[in-house]
């Protein structure tokens, strides 16, 4: 049955995928100069951290890492209630002229990325902004695409993708689950 819970990536597959994504980011930037890896709260942040670590293992030079909380830039604040929790935003370097790679766990409607682009514009004018996501599940509602993708999956109606990371969920995994069902 297509609606049964299944594992898309286990911990080892996830680690491999992140290593490959790290390589692709360095390739895209032709090195690590001016690179700033910015994770979107919450699961984008530990993923960004791992990408930075993976890049550090193979390349010389320091890659900056930041965190972005896009809650205050969401386009649905007039309608959602109660108020979503606001996380912290922390960009440790001036992003003017830099290559900023925005990292998130799942790319779906594209609305989160739209909010992230607006927020980054309030911090400065990067030379380039790229998008890296662990899972692209389709279903875009805005003209947004990812430059680096861990895995592309087809999700049928009634299903959802859950990314779990050690830091927040106690284990690494990507699960395809039925909507309304707790993992």
């Amino acid at each position: 049955m297509p609606t049964r819970t299944s594992t898309l990536l286990d911990a080892r597959a996830m680690a491999r995928t992140i290593r490959r994504m790290a390589d692709e980011i360095v390739e895209l930037n032709e090195g690590t100069d001016d690179l700033v890896i910015v994770g979107i709260q919450r699961r984008g942040v530990p993923l960004a951290q791992r990408l930075v670590a993976a890049i550090g293992e193979r390349e010389k030079g320091h890659v900056h890492q930041g965190a972005l909380d896009i809650t205050l830039y969401r386009d649905d604040l007039q309608t959602v209630g109660p108020r979503p929790v606001v996380g912290s935003t922390d960009l440790p370097v001036d992003i003017d002229g830099k290559v900023v790679v925005v990292v998130d766990d799942v790319l779906y409607t594209g609305r989160t990325v739209r909010a992230a682009l607006d927020e980054l514009a309030d911090f400065g004018r990067p030379r380039r902004i790229a998008l890296a996501v662990l899972i692209d599940r389709g279903g875009r509602e805005l003209p947004i695409h990812a430059d680096v993708v861990g895995k592309t999956v087809t999700v049928e109606s009634g299903q959802r993708v859950d990314v779990m990371v050690e830091e927040l969920d106690g284990k690494d995994a990507v699960i395809l689950a039925r909507k309304g069902e707790e993992e």
Binding site: Y73, D76, S88, T89, D122, F123
Partner: protein
């Protein structure tokens, strides 16, 4: 439940510890916005807020105004002295007229205790109490809590003494409610004439001598001695007040611990607090002002609430 705080913020007495914690935790990320080059987020774009001040205020009004502007709300200031209020319009008529212009929130400062609640019960808009008579000043209480929590990394179990004119102070009342709900131990210190009769029933320790209060406390919240109280016969003279109850360097030096110094402002230097204390290393008076903007942003954000009946388009927002 659409808004975790309900429609209005009228005081800290009616809030639970969890609600207070939510406001403080929400204020935390808002601090960073004021550090940005572009100190603005689009969160309250399109919301209209009226700052309705029936009493003089600079710090609180400016702090609310910055909070509103940094959230991209449109705000209007009305000072009662030069409005239709001076022509005899009632509070409710003023507010209903404003509501007829489709506003979303009212921030009200009023000399009568209970004015904010009176208004909140009669209009649809969210009402935020910016100080009502001698009742409460919840956002001041919250910014004091945030400043204390920043310093001690907790509120549970810390000893805070509120010094001075507790009787007339809405700041004192909001502090006592807020601190107690967060598990802090509260003391008060001041001349008996400036402590409420019912103070013993509020579950606080009463100190008659400032030296004892300093000896006991982790932090002092020193209230402004409202100078008009002297005419009221509550204290004999400012000089005497300073001699007996003033927080001075010398008195602080006598205890070996650091005692954190808070003051809601505006200060009377040389009366309730000496300059070398106000400007000293343990003073967090300016941090209070900085935190005031973040706390008010958090309150505006949490109260502004959503309209879930329109949420169809937003359904996918939190989903993967």
């Amino acid at each position: 439940m659409t808004a975790p705080l309900g429609k209005d913020l009228l005081g800290l007495e009616s809030l639970s510890g969890d609600q207070i914690r939510l406001i403080l935790d929400t204020a935390e990320p808002f601090k960073e916005i004021s550090e940005r080059a572009i100190k603005k987020v689009p969160t309250l774009r399109g919301a209209t807020i009226v700052n309705l001040f029936f009493e003089a205020s600079t710090r609180t009004r400016v702090s609310f105004e910055f909070a509103e502007k940094r959230l991209s709300a449109d705000s209007v200031n009305i000072a009662a002295s030069n409005s239709s209020v001076s022509k005899g319009e009632t509070l409710v008529d003023t507010a209903r007229n404003l509501e007829a212009m489709r506003i979303d929130m009212v921030v009200i400062r009023h000399g009568a205790s209970g004015a904010a609640q009176f208004l909140a019960e009669r209009i649809e808009s969210n009402v935020i109490n910016a100080g009502d008579g001698t009742h409460e000043h919840p956002t001041q209480g919250l910014l004091d809590l945030l400043t204390l929590r920043d310093h001690f990394k907790r509120l549970d179990g810390i000893k805070v003494c509120i010094c001075g004119d507790v009787l007339h102070s809405r700041v004192a009342r909001s502090n006592i409610w807020g601190l107690k709900k967060m598990g802090a131990i509260v003391g008060v210190c001041g001349p008996r004439s400036l402590l409420p009769n019912a103070i013993d029933d509020m579950g606080v320790t009463v100190f008659n001598r400032i030296e004892e209060a300093i000896e006991w406390a982790d932090a002092l919240n020193i209230l402004r001695l409202q100078l008009e109280r002297m005419q009221g016969g509550y204290i004999p003279s400012l000089r005497e007040y300073n001699r007996v109850f003033g927080v001075t360097r010398e008195r602080l030096d006598r205890v070996k611990r650091d005692v954190l110094i808070l003051h809601p402002g505006p200060m009377n230097r040389g009366v309730e607090i000496d300059s070398d204390v106000a400007d000293g290393p343990f003073s967090v008076i300016l941090d209070q002002v900085t935190n005031g903007v973040a706390v008010r942003m958090a309150v505006l954000y949490l109260l502004s609430g959503g309209k879930p009946e329109l949420a169809e388009a937003a359904k996918k927002g939190g989903e993967r």
